[in-house]
């Protein structure tokens, strides 16, 4: 039972990743092709569905399944890029603070406190509002704002590892400080950071959807799930599926990533090292 989460989460995430990677081959239609004669076609389980549009079409007659599949790309790319950027910042700061302590740690703690006092959504809205929306900007803003948990976890785990004898042995063997950090400290805190990575990825995907919903995320006509929900807003009373199909997709992906993260945490927590 406890291990099922990691399998379910991993399986769903793998499916979504495969869908995103092979989107051009598995999507039945061009996600940008409009067909105004077939607007808001219903999905297959409803009366009057069109056989070539499995999940129906949106308000511009674009195939919903194809947009959903290409939308997985946007979510995953933004999620992964944000984790890379925020992970690089957070892990660097956390490891330096935790390893050196003293003044360095004071500075790192100050930066973490500063970061925690900044409201992410507000700053993201302001920056994107000022500079215009683009995928790069969303990644940059979220990456620069979501590193705090990486820093906190990296700092705490580094402080534990720093005092272990193998670090002392590496020091006594004449290893340089960068080498000690890279080959003795980092590999031993990586498991904890992987768990943080999944949490941050889920959060970044949700935030991207939220920004896109507000019209400040990825620019249309790019098929982002948040943007699809926003565009379907006006039709939700008569064509509710245009909202809840991408909604369910978003929910499932975030749930899968969180299940995977929880599973990894339990797995590593139970390991002796």
């Amino acid at each position: 039972m406890r291990r099922s989460g990691i399998w379910i989460g991993g399986a769903i995430l793998t499916l979504v990743v495969l869908a995103g990677v092979f989107a051009p081959w598995i999507a039945p239609h061009d996600p940008y092709a409009q067909d105004l004669t077939r607007r808001l076609a219903v999905p297959f389980w409803m009366e009057g569905a069109l056989p070539e549009h499995l999940l129906g079409t949106d308000q511009l007659g674009r195939d919903y399944l194809s947009r959903l599949i290409f939308g997985a790309r946007v979510s995953l790319i933004i999620g992964a890029m944000v984790v890379v950027v925020s992970g690089a910042i957070g892990i660097t700061l956390g490891v330096l603070g935790g390893f050196f302590g003293g003044r360095v740690d004071d500075v790192v703690l100050f930066l973490i406190t500063c970061r925690l006092s900044i409201p992410v959504v507000l700053v993201a809205l302001a920056v994107v509002g000022l500079l215009g929306s683009s995928t790069t900007l969303v990644v940059a803003v979220l990456g620069l704002l979501l590193w705090d948990r990486f820093a906190v976890v990296a700092r705490a785990t580094t402080m534990q590892v720093r005092n272990l004898d193998y670090v002392a042995a590496a020091w006594a063997a004449g290893s340089s400080t960068p080498r000690i950090l890279i080959s003795e400290v980092l590999p031993n805190i990586m498991t904890h950071l992987a768990v943080v990575g999944t949490l941050e990825m889920a959060l970044a995907i949700l935030l991207e959807a939220a920004l896109s919903f507000l019209g400040l995320g990825v620019p249309p006509p790019l098929p982002s799930w948040g943007l699809m929900i926003a565009e379907g807003r006006d039709f939700m009373f008569f064509s509710a599926w245009v909202i809840w199909i991408p909604g369910i997709a978003l929910f499932t992906l975030v749930l899968a990533i969180n299940l995977l993260g929880d599973g990894l945490r339990d797995l590593f927590g139970a390991a002796p090292s």
Binding site: L164, D165, Y166, A168, A169, A170, W171, A172, A173, G174, S175, S176, R179, S183, E184, P187, N188, P272, S273
Partner: protein
């Protein structure tokens, strides 16, 4: 006599312990004026109870902690003035717990190669020296690709010894190298250390609270109490005729396997030593069974290797 392999001069370490925001900081003298020297090829045992500063002394000698005062010279060179590579070639440690002294994420081969890599030795030479070193400590070179979690405690300690000796250091500093091991494995590790010491002409510092182990391996023994060496003598002499009352108490405290004897009464009382509040005069006097009035007033001079008023009188 030629220059000693290692010479420790007036080594001292004070920690400042802050007590809350407005409390007055207290000085903890963990190591207080330790002077020792060991001739090449000899083994010095350092014994003392928990908290007497043995491990702090080890860390000071290695340079893991900066000393507050004093110096450590290996073959006439001040360790604190050497760069990390040169220092690593002179002195290497073996730590107490082989479970925390080996990086669990690196293979045995990588762990033993680590000091060579830090020295910039090339790949092929590294591999042959690692294989040779593993054989010397009784580990098959085929095991180089395994990870520490796959080894027993004794095997792990052999790996730790291999890592320490792969650079052929002059000094080997063992900080309680057997106390985390099963009794059956302890003697194997001790014999291995004794063999390696002879074949590599190593000078060894052996820190332990286990008197039997020290008697087995050391040429000279230093007894540490509250950060200070209170007695230093040849191993045989020290165990046969202990001079300092603390040494006598330590020897009396050894548990014997004979039934019916119970826990020995060493006559030290219930007062525990506190390195942040070292007693004036002789630091041992509050616990000393034979203390006289002078002991709480004057610091005893060292006479024939022991610091006690009763010996000088």
């Amino acid at each position: 006599m030629s220059t000693p392999a290692i010479e420790i001069r007036d080594l001292e370490k004070r920690f400042i312990v802050k007590q809350g925001l407005f409390g007055t900081p207290r000085h903890v003298r963990a190591v207080d004026g330790v002077t020792l020297s060991i001739p090449t090829g000899a083994t010095l045992g350092i014994v003392g109870e928990s908290g007497c500063g043995k491990s702090t002394l080890a860390r000071l000698i290695l340079g893991l902690l900066p000393a507050s005062a004093g110096s450590v010279l290996v073959e006439g060179q001040d360790l604190s003035r050497l760069d990390r590579r040169a220092r690593a070639r002179l002195i290497q440690p073996v730590f107490q717990d082989p479970f925390s002294s080996l990086n669990p994420r690196r293979s045995i081969g990588d762990i033993v190669a680590m000091p060579l890599v830090a020295q910039g030795v090339a790949g092929r030479e590294t591999r042959s020296r690692v294989a040779e070193m593993l054989e010397q400590v009784g580990i098959s070179p085929d095991m180089a690709s395994r990870y520490p979690a796959q080894l027993s405690g004794g095997q792990r300690q052999r790996i730790a010894i291999a890592r320490a000796l792969v650079l052929r250091p002059r000094i080997l500093l063992c900080d309680e190298p057997t106390s985390a091991l099963d009794v059956s494995v302890q003697s194997q590790i001790l014999n291995l250390l004794a063999d390696l010491r002879r074949s590599l002409n190593l000078t060894t510092i052996f820190i332990s609270h286990n008197l039997a182990v020290v008697e087995h391996i050391a040429d000279t023994v230093a007894v540490m109490y509250l950060g200070r060496i209170v007695e230093e003598a040849q191993a045989q002499a020290l165990f046969a005729t202990p001079r300092h009352p603390y040494t006598r108490a330590l020897l009396a405290s050894v548990l014997t396997p004979e039934p019916g004897l119970g826990v020995p009464d060493v006559g030290l009382g219930d007062v525990l030593p506190d390195p942040s509040n070292i007693p004036p005069g002789c630091r041992f006097h509050p616990r000393c069974p034979v203390a006289i009035a002078r002991c709480s007033l004057q610091t005893p001079p060292r006479v024939d290797g022991a610091e006690c008023h009763l010996l000088s009188a």
